[in-house]
């Protein structure tokens, strides 16, 4: 049997800067991510327990993680520089009896889109209205870009966006994103 080796979805790639200086892409390492599902009728109690919000499109920030509402009673919790194993265990213990936890840290990659033309780059593939009169820091949504499912989290008003993309689509999405960003 072949020896199994660990490999990052994008290999050694970690950054892309457009020649014109308009857009910068960074692959963010070392985040822990778990999906949380509330038991029937327990969504409110669970949100209270974790001190997170349930409103669609609004990411809640606690001291240790961001909570992105995905659908009624479901959130993605994302912690920077956290250990994937211990983070999942901590959340599991905190919401014991109220919901379930699914560890997702290696299921997706995170690409941070920033730079003066970050919004223009997003507009090339994102169907959502990201004009500053509509979205601001803290906005989040699940949608599709270049036919790939993406979880978007706006992390700055500048703006900057974190894009969480399935690991299996990472290379395809990165190819599209860098080709599109090159014009900026």
């Amino acid at each position: 049997m072949a020896d199994l080796q660990t490999a990052a979805p994008l290999g050694e790639v970690s950054e892309f800067s457009a020649d014109g200086g308009g857009a910068v892409l960074q692959v963010r390492p070392d985040f822990a991510m778990v999906q949380v599902f509330a038991k029937t009728g327990k969504a409110g109690e669970l949100a209270q327990k974790l001190d997170i919000v349930s409103d669609p499109g609004k990411a809640g920030d606690t001291s240790s993680f961001a909570a992105l509402p995905l659908s009624p009673g479901q959130w993605m919790l994302i912690a920077d520089n956290a250990n994937a194993n211990t983070f999942g265990q901590e959340i599991t213990e905190q919401i014991s009896g109220l919901g379930y936890v699914s560890e997702q840290s290696d299921a997706r990659i995170c690409i941070r889109v920033s730079g003066p033309n970050a919004r223009d780059l997003m507009a090339r593939g994102c169907r959502l209205d990201l004009h500053p009169s509509v979205t601001a820091k803290g906005f989040c949504a699940q949608t599709q870009m270049a036919q790939v499912g993406v979880l978007i989290h706006q992390v700055s008003d500048e703006p900057a966006y974190d894009l969480y993309v399935y690991a299996g689509f990472a290379r395809s999405f990165w190819h599209w994103l860098t080709e599109t960003a090159a014009q900026f």
Binding site: P56, G57, L70, S71, P72, R127, L128, A141, Q142, T143, Q144, G149
Partner: protein, 95 residues
Amino acid sequence: MHQIDCPWCGVRDEAEFQYQGDASVTRPDPDAGEDDFFSYVYVRDNPKGWHTEWWHHNGGCRQWVKVVRNTATHEIHATGLPRDGLPVPQARLKP
């Protein structure tokens, strides 16, 4: 392209959704017999006008959305959760 008002995500493009068929059929009683189940699985009306149907928001919140849509004009009259009883306009077609 349709714009469908998802009860959770808000208005999104049709490309994020998958059409999932007639929302007006109900599953027969388990003892109803083969004919009733054949109708339930395979037989559908093909109305010109208002139609209550399922759309799955697989590119967003992955919830099922009930939609009242006009098959002739593509106008969307109402959207809601699966449990919602949505009003269907009386006129088959808009004047």
